[in-house]
Symmetry: C2
Subunit: 73 residues, 2 copies
DNA sequence: AAACAACGTAAAGATATCTTTACATATAGT
DNA sequence: ACTATATGTAAAGATATCTTTACGTTGTTT
């Protein structure tokens, strides 16, 4: 069996930009728990939040979110 | 008040490509009711489904999904 | 050591996304 | 008129996304 999953590089990008989870959550108008859960891949952001994130980072979506094919997970 | 909303151009793109809702739903492994609801902007796709859709169309995300700022809706 | 900032996490509840089943409408072809 | 294909829609239920509240850990600074 194979499973499709989305992973993200938010944490690395955020840190590279020197932004805290708290500030980013405030800027994007979500709670820091939400940002934390998304960074730790506990669940995916909604499309709306994902679009806000790539706009916030000013980066193409492929550099932030990856649609991955995994095996047996 | 202002509201952020995501709209999409899936229907136009799909028709331009001559694909039916039914075939697209099968190819993307969702129900046609889901594709119908998304096309009619009843709700947004998940990020995972959105990424599958732009891969399916082979188009950049900005040409399919638009993050819009609306007034008082 | 005490204080502070950033991050981790958990549980309960609200709303959004998606499936299944079912029925209905519209259009085209025979 | 009948059949087939594509699309619209609704209701019930499952799971995902996100908030609120709350408490815990880690590292840094004074």
């Amino acid at each position: 069996m194979s499973v499709i999953a989305v992973i993200n590089h938010i944490r690395e990008i955020r840190r590279k930009k020197g932004i805290t989870q708290i500030k980013m959550a405030e800027d994007l108008q979500v709670t820091r728990q939400t940002m934390n859960a998304i960074e730790k891949n506990k669940y995916n952001p909604s499309l709306e939040l994902a679009l806000k994130i790539i706009a916030y980072f000013e980066m193409p979506i492929e550099q932030v979110f990856i649609l991955e094919e995994e095996d047996d997970e």
